[in-house]
Amino acid sequence: MSVSVQEGDFDIGAEMAAMTAGRTDIGALVSFVGLVRDMAGGAAVSSMELEHYPGMTEKALEKIEAEARARWDLQDCRIVHRVGALEAGAQIVLVLAASPHRQAAFEAAEFIMDFLKSRAPFWKKEAGLGWVDARDSDEEALERWR
């Protein structure tokens, strides 16, 4: 179980190295990094504010991670999510999934991202544009895992 919610940036290379250090049983390591896009929905975004629900956020992410570990043969898993002010191009979220097999690593990372998108208490407010609306496609993405 490894979840971090933080204002500061993260270092993907260091996170991966920490996960694989000293072990030789991992066959597949999948990472997902989400970034602040400057053209969300066609309007220029220079920065955003990421609000969350301290306390519940960590619990929600740990629950999603535990569910992924129960479903797939994972050797390790990690979620890092930033909050606060984020500029265009900034890293928002990192998901890592390690498994002996590539399909498990891919599916677990996708599962975590799908649930994180609409089941963890984060809200995005884009500078000059206001609160980001939830997308139907994110809700529909969850259907795949039922």
Binding site: E51, S118, A134
Partner: protein, 81 residues
């Protein structure tokens, strides 16, 4: 009971949290009570399809009982990642 608001719910109601004395049996009853307070609450709770609820930091449905609950949070659909 602590009642928390996030994102545009927080902005519409004007506070991030408040202590609420209530005898409401369920979350839905609490929403009714809050709606009756002031215009800003009525506005924030006008479209419940756009409101999500957590009780003691777990996502729940609107008909969840409030017995023994310490913390209720209202917020829009989540947009993480």
């Amino acid at each position: 009971m602590q009642v928390l608001y996030f994102a545009w719910m927080r902005e519409r109601i004007g506070v991030p949290k408040e202590e609420v004395e209530t005898n409401a049996a369920t979350v839905a009853d609490l929403v009714e009570e809050l709606r009756g307070r002031e215009e800003r609450y009525a506005l924030a709770f006008s479209d419940m399809a756009a409101v999500r609820v957590a009780v003691d930091q777990e996502l729940v449905e609107i008909d969840t009982p409030l017995t023994g609950v310490r913390e209720v949070a209202f917020f829009p659909p989540m947009t993480g990642g």
